[in-house]
């Protein structure tokens, strides 16, 4: 394996769910170079979540790959942390606790529910949110942390959500 290729692999190994752009930036490589090597690294998996491609080593299964992608987004991460702490909560409680617009929460929930990370339990016409696999979610929480550009992007989207929803 070439030196560049093993550098890319090691970076993905230590930063599970890393973005393509983050790889080029962190390793100071050209876009084409990273594309070339990624195509030849068969031990690397990619997952596209909300239009962004994340990379992982084969030690993570598809469920873990999706969970990691969400844990790299500040708002989704905050919602997951809240559900770890209180086990189950109503959507309005989560939105109030995180001080986000309902639409922001619902946008994140749609992905989390689709990939079986969070479930919506319905009883007597009321919806309660809970984690599908709490123990595994806690384990992954420690493995990843959102990066500054992700946090900035997340906060700006949250700001727009709130502006559009208020009034």
């Amino acid at each position: 394996m070439s030196d560049t290729r093993s550098r890319i692999y090691r970076h993905i190994e230590s930063h599970p769910g890393v973005h393509f752009r983050e790889l080029t930036r962190a390793l100071d490589l050209a876009t084409g170079q990273v594309q070339y090597h990624l195509a030849r690294l068969d031990r690397v998996h990619s997952e596209s979540v909300n239009g962004r491609t994340h990379y992982y080593t084969s030690s993570f299964d598809p469920w873990e790959r999706h969970a990691i992608a969400f844990l790299r987004r500040e708002t989704a991460r905050d919602a997951l942390v809240m559900l770890i702490e209180c086990e189950a909560a109503r959507p309005s409680e989560v939105a109030d606790h995180l001080d986000i617009a309902r639409s922001t929460l619902e946008h994140h929930l749609s992905g989390l529910v689709e990939h079986d990370i969070v479930e919506k339990r319905r009883s007597e016409g009321r919806v309660t949110l809970a984690l599908c696999r709490p123990d595994l979610t806690v384990e992954l929480l420690a493995a990843v942390d959102p990066k500054a550009p992700d946090r900035l992007s997340d906060r700006f989207t949250r700001l727009l959500d709130r502006l559009f929803e208020s009034g």
Binding site: E106, S153, F164, E165
Partner: protein
């Protein structure tokens, strides 16, 4: 009558203006990028209009730079800047108008 400006604004000695314009272009690019990312996540018209409005804002320092290198004449620069201001305002108003459809969709889903 003294003309407002002749030729390039950023000619000799205009380093202060050049620095402000470059800073404005960089900050504008970051803001525009954030708005595009928000549109990509939400995909609704209101977010698209905000992204386009911020693109118009980002275009202002670019035109100032073109004017600085005398690619665009001063009167054209002046006209384009005011035109971009108008575009910005109209797009933000459009986003405010379409924001209601986001709320309505959530109401219909019973959330």
């Amino acid at each position: 009558m003294k003309p407002l400006s002749i030729g390039g604004h950023l000619g000799a000695g205009g380093w202060d203006i050049a620095a402000v314009v470059v800073l404005s272009a960089v900050a504008g690019a970051v803001l525009c990028g954030l708005a595009l990312a928000a549109y990509r996540q939400r995909g609704t018209r209101a977010y698209l209009l905000i992204a386009l409005a911020l693109a118009a804002l980002f275009a202002r320092p670019l035109i100032a730079l073109l004017s600085g290198f005398s690619v665009v004449s001063a009167p054209t620069h002046h006209l384009l800047e005011h035109a971009l201001d108008t575009v910005f305002v109209v797009l933000v108003l459009g986003a405010v108008y379409y924001a209601r459809t986001v709320e309505k969709r959530l109401d219909e889903e019973g959330l």
